[in-house]
């Protein structure tokens, strides 16, 4: 997939013209607002602002919906008929995705193609075109640099934009998919100059690196029974806000839902590891019966288990979970202070 980096310059006006065309073609164009990535109806809604905080939720739900049917069933006297679900492979173009979001799908991809390949995820992902936008603002909760990413990272993007000045963007074509997308619009592209974009990216203020993920990995392995977990468990209220706003949390639950006596569907719903009944067995036994064990699982899964399995940290450093936590539990703080005594 590694394509030779190709850099062009595009004006904001022309970029919006492309957006107009994309919408006219009937594709979905998502762009980040204050709270969420929303489908653009009119190009005046597009605000290519590199100095905004990440939206409250990521675009995860467009590739892994919070609730989706996986099959329908119909029961007759002595037969069950299964009806497949057709996933519509609509093209989704995400414009102005933050570098901490562009990363997310490539991280989740491992899981959805691990012991079986999830058709729903793969089909949707195939129709995704991610246009990333450099980020020039961070707050006290951002920590992308600590998990190996950065505000100027183009990892996961198909096309990456760097604002050069008010009206011009440097446009990097990263993948084959991105090239295919931009090819029909070649007339808008002017030859680029890498030194100029480099100047911009080098001047971006980076959030401080607050922890070393390798050290955290080691610490987690040795401190499964640390009293630290208890302190966090006492404060955490067991909601799943952190998991549901996370761009890479991917746990789900399968439930059957009936419509009438004979018809129903099987649903795949988001689930969160902080819920008490997430690990509740049918026998009544619950291996993670108290909150401290559940929070330990969350941190371990992100910084240890996922690394063991797929070699990547299950975190993009966007800080959404901490920003929105009702009791202000900050995962960055917990991980970076892990070595301090209780």
């Amino acid at each position: 997939m590694n394509f030779k980096m190709d850099e062009k310059i595009i004006s904001k006006e022309d970029l919006l013209k492309i957006c107009q065309d994309v919408i006219a073609k009937g594709h979905t164009l998502l762009t980040p607002g204050m709270n969420e990535y929303f489908p653009v109806k009119d190009i005046s809604q597009i605000n290519l602002n590199s100095s905004a905080l990440p939206a409250k939720t990521s675009y995860k739900s467009y590739v892994f919906p919070r609730s989706e049917p996986v099959l329908y069933y119909k029961r007759s006297k002595d037969d069950v008929q299964l009806i497949d679900v057709n996933v519509d492979g609509k093209n989704i173009i995400i414009l102005g995705a933050k570098p901490c979001d562009t990363n997310s799908i490539s991280i989740m991809r491992h899981l959805f193609n691990w012991d079986y390949s999830d058709e729903f995820f793969n089909l949707r992902e195939k129709h995704f075109i991610i246009i990333g936008l450099m980020c020039s603002h961070y707050d006290e909760y951002c920590f992308c640099t600590s998990v190996g990413s950065s505000p100027v990272s183009d990892k996961g993007s198909d096309i990456f934009l760097i604002p050069l000045d008010e009206n011009n963007f440097a446009l990097r074509i990263i993948t084959e998919k991105g090239k295919e997308f931009i090819e029909p619009y070649a007339e808008y592209l002017k030859p680029g100059d890498e030194t100029r974009s480099k100047q911009v990216t080098e001047n971006v203020k980076l959030p401080e690196v607050v922890f070393d993920s390798k050290e955290v990995y080691e610490w987690l392995g040795e401190n499964f029974e640390s009293p630290k977990w208890e302190g966090i468990g006492n404060l955490c209220l067991s909601c799943a806000q952190c998991a549901f706003v996370c761009p890479v949390c991917h746990c789900f639950d399968i439930v059957d839902e009936d419509y009438s006596y004979s018809e129903g569907r099987r649903m795949k719903n988001w689930d969160g590891c902080q819920f008490g009944n997430f690990t509740l067995h049918a026998s009544g036994h619950n291996p993670r019966d108290i909150q401290s064990k559940r929070y330990r699982q969350r941190v371990n899964h992100k910084f240890r288990y996922y690394v063991d399995k797929f070699g990547e940290i299950l975190c993009t450093g966007c800080g959404r979970c901490s920003r929105g936590c009702p009791v202000s539990i900050d995962i960055k703080e917990i991980v970076s202070n892990c070595k301090e005594s209780v």
Binding site: A243, G276, P326, I329
Partner: protein
């Protein structure tokens, strides 16, 4: 502030309380809850306009209560509570979830709080509950700190919104709420932060029969939000934590407030104001109106 810290330290040193649940500063205008068991940590306590959490939610948590029971002694629990949080504590006592003698209420003279973290304290950014607040001094407390100050003035936008909604037709209202509930992702943060949602097992956790669908499609969201609002009607003390916790900004407390208005209008009852009276929905009066019934 120093007095508060001294008092907390004293309580912990004398082993009168097992823990002090309070606030600690995170950054300039953000605080977070802290559970202090070591007297040396008492210096971390703060109280100011940025103390938003309603800490009474911790009173019903088994793991917090377990701290109070040591081998030879059963200790109390001290809790920092704004006057409005005291209403929640009163409601919990009314509903027999907490014993008045088991807790030490450390309260404050309050002049309002900000609507959310990240805002400067001013009339414009005043939390909606503070606009109509009548209890700047707590109704029940064991110790009180802080001086009385004027609350900034602001207009009651929530009430105006309720009135606006009431003037709509049923179809319009249904559509409005359906669209709002459709945003719900079922993270249950509203349930988790609510001091009065203390059920060990929520109705949504029951799988057989599954009354409330766990899926977060329109139908499941609608059911969940109606049930949540109903279970809190005439009980909600209006602390507004659900609004603050909701990552999708669903106007949950708007519905709660409308129900509280109904309790006041039909039964002259305001939740969490008196330890002497029974709860409204937990009791009955033979003389209640029969208007509803054919």
């Amino acid at each position: 502030m120093e007095e508060l810290r001294e008092y907390a330290k004293e309580l912990l040193e004398k082993k009168e309380v097992a823990a002090v649940i309070g606030y600690t500063q995170v950054s300039e205008n953000r605080t977070k809850p802290i559970i202090i068991t070591d007297p040396a940590d008492a210096s971390k306590l703060v109280f100011n306009e940025y103390c938003l959490n309603n800490l009474s939610v911790y009173l019903t948590k088994a793991r917090i209560n377990a701290m109070c029971r040591t081998k030879d002694k059963i200790m109390k629990l001290a809790i920092c509570a704004k006057p409005c949080d005291v209403h929640s504590i009163v409601a919990l006592i009314q509903e027999n979830q907490v014993h008045r003698n088991d807790i030490v209420i450390i309260s404050f003279n309050c002049h309002g709080a900000v609507k959310d973290f990240g805002y400067e304290f001013s009339g414009e950014n005043l939390a909606s509950k503070c606009i109509t607040c009548e209890t700047h001094k707590p109704l029940y407390f064991d110790k009180i700190f802080g001086e009385e100050k004027e609350t900034p003035k602001a207009s009651d936008a929530a009430l105006a919104r309720i009135e606006e909604l009431e003037s709509m037709t049923h179809e319009e209202r249904f559509e409005y709420f359906n669209n709002e509930f459709d945003k719900c992702i079922k993270c249950y943060a509203c349930r988790a932060v609510c001091p009065l949602c203390y059920c060990q097992r929520c109705i949504t956790d029951k799988a057989i029969p599954r009354w409330i669908e766990s899926s977060s499609h329109q139908r499941g969201n609608f059911s969940w939000n109606i049930v949540r609002a109903f279970h809190l009607s005439a009980r909600c003390t209006g602390c507004g934590e659900c609004d603050r916790a909701c990552p999708m900004d669903i106007p949950l407390s708007l519905i709660n407030r409308r129900m509280a208005m109904e309790a006041k209008k039909s039964f002259s009852y305001v939740s969490g104001r008196s330890l002497e009276t029974p709860t409204l929905v937990g009791s009955f009066n033979e003389k209640d109106s029969d208007e509803l019934f054919m």
